[in-house]
Amino acid sequence: MALTLGAPGTRPGAPPERPASRSRRRARERLTVLGFMAPALAGLLLFLVYPLLASAYFSFTKFDLVNPPRWVGLRNWSFLLQDPNVRVAAYNTLWLVVVMVPARMVGALSTGILLTRFRRGAGFYRTLFYLPALAPPVAATLAFVFLLKPGTGPVNTLLARLGIEGPLWFSSPHWSKPSLVLLALWGVGDLMIIFLAALLDVPQELYEAAALDGANAWQQFRAVTLPAISPVILFAAVTGVIQTLQYFTQAAVAASVASGQANSGGGISGTFGYPANSTYTYPLWLYVAGFRYGALGYANVLAVVLFVVSIVVTGILLRRFRAFLGTDR
């Protein structure tokens, strides 16, 4: 990679340099940049470029942890089309993308808007709403499996006192994914902070002008707030989809704990998807195919597909890269 430093030392009015010393200085500046960047560039090559290329190659081979890769052409790829598990897993992940991402965005935006309405107390409420987002995902998932225990959990106990029979939550194939959405909404605070910062950046004069024109609250929201924060909404949508494509921990832990079956760390994948594969997400199936069934070649097919989908989604963000990076490029 050609590294040239845009000469921070050359100021207007500096005496012209002889070509030889200029090229020596260039070389030194290049070395400086290389010194700063070398570890990160090596990291990009070793932990991004290499695995991507290797993954593409491995997807045409058959191997496991014992046997070395053997070329099998398109066999793994044609299996992708017949694999019933990938269909279930892709459906579950798509379900989460379609429901969980918008739910989190609406939740974050509405709590953020509520916080902008306070003159006093906003900081207190902000901290309270934000704290659950800090809970380690495993801990938060355990908390929700406990809260939503069908028989004796606090939520169903309280519902029973109101005369309502609570659902089976994490133990019902119909309620397991909505339960995961509730868990995601509990941790909505990180997104709320981002929306709140954007909301507070909207110029107050725009609201005053809209109010003078007789716009009601909803019209002000549509005509002023939404356009002003649209880059943040795009950012939240893209990162939300990316996060949901890699949704692993909560689904794995909820299934394992709710199933109540004996397992240890090594065997945890045996309970993935409980109940009735309803929480089997795409990354879980990738993990199981590769590390439980030992089909490492096929796992790379799933990885390449995941890579292509993520890159397409990220591309939407990169097209608006300048807004994403701020004014200074």
């Binding site: 509520l114 809970a135 028989g151 394992s256 990885a303």
Partner: protein, 279 residues
């Protein structure tokens, strides 16, 4: 303000605070129920009682006495601390070069780093696992710690976003005084960038503390290397259904995070905002 608007405003005030208080209770309720259950006997924690009939703070000691949670804690602290230190060593200089030095390929490198940051970890899992297996390091946490010496995409991006906000004039002044780029970074930029560095360090520490996928992938065969996340997820099966101990252990993993957050809330919130969009 005109007279009829007043009762309206008072009503709105009450309505907003009621809504905010109701939401606060909903956000807090899970932790409250965990806390109450963590003081119950193991028998009572299996019932639908919400309030402990007798209080057993010794449950918290039992988490360490009856389970290997102490070792998991030590592993987690080691992982999170080393990962954070290594990340800072490698990522601060890279972020500086991306934010404050001009060189050809800078923009392309930044795009590559954003792509690396956005990529689901599962995409690169198999080749990386094989790499660490050939180096004989699977079964330990090193495959998660050592890469931090070669930069972390998210941290580089966060630090870069912070460093671009520092005016170039300070840097130019240092350069005119004859500081090289390293000295400019260490003496001028870093002291000004403390909140950004603190935010990046906290994010990295929390990430490692919370990480489940990485430890599951590399250490699930070797229980002596497990972290708290991994231990917690396997807790129920290994120690029967002792919800009182499990809720206590769950709360214990949350405590350090909340403490760190309260000590550095401002830097942290700034960090969250910086990785969002700058209009």
């Amino acid at each position: 303000m005109t007279a009829p608007a007043r009762p309206n405003a008072a009503l709105l005030f009450v309505a907003r605070h009621s809504l905010a208080i109701a939401l606060s209770l909903i956000f807090l309720a899970p932790v409250v129920f965990l806390l109450l259950t963590s003081f119950m006997t193991d028998h009572q924690s299996l019932t639908s009682n919400l309030w402990p009939e007798s209080w057993h703070p010794e449950n918290y000691a039992n988490v360490f006495a009856k389970t290997p949670m102490g070792r998991y804690l030590a592993n987690t602290v080691l992982y999170a601390t080393l990962a954070t230190l290594f990340m800072l060593l490698s990522s601060v200089p890279a972020a500086y070069a991306l934010a404050k030095l001009r060189w050809r390929g800078r923009y392309a490198t930044l795009v590559a780093i954003v792509c690396a940051m956005m990529l689901p970890p599962q995409v690169t899992t198999v080749p990386l696992y094989l790499l660490w297996a050939t180096w004989g390091l699977t079964g330990s946490l090193w495959p998660l710690i050592l890469p931090m010496l070669l930069g972390d995409a998210f941290s580089i991006f966060l630090l870069r976003q912070f460093l671009v906000t520092i005016p170039d004039e300070y840097l130019d002044a240092a350069r005119v005084d004859g500081c090289g780029e390293w000295r400019t970074l260490l003496r001028v930029v870093l002291p000004m960038a403390k909140p950004g560095v603190a935010a990046a360090a906290m994010f990295q520490f929390f990430y490692a503390w919370n990480d489940y996928y990485g430890p599951l992938l590399y250490t699930s065969e070797n229980e002596s290397a497990w972290t708290m996340s991994l231990g917690l997820a396997s807790f129920r099966s290994l120690h029967a259904v002792q919800w009182n101990l499990l809720t206590a252990a769950t709360l214990l993993t949350m405590v350090p995070i909340v403490l760190v957050f309260f000590f550095a809330q401002k830097a942290f919130v700034q960090g969250v905002t910086l990785t969002g969009v700058k209009g």
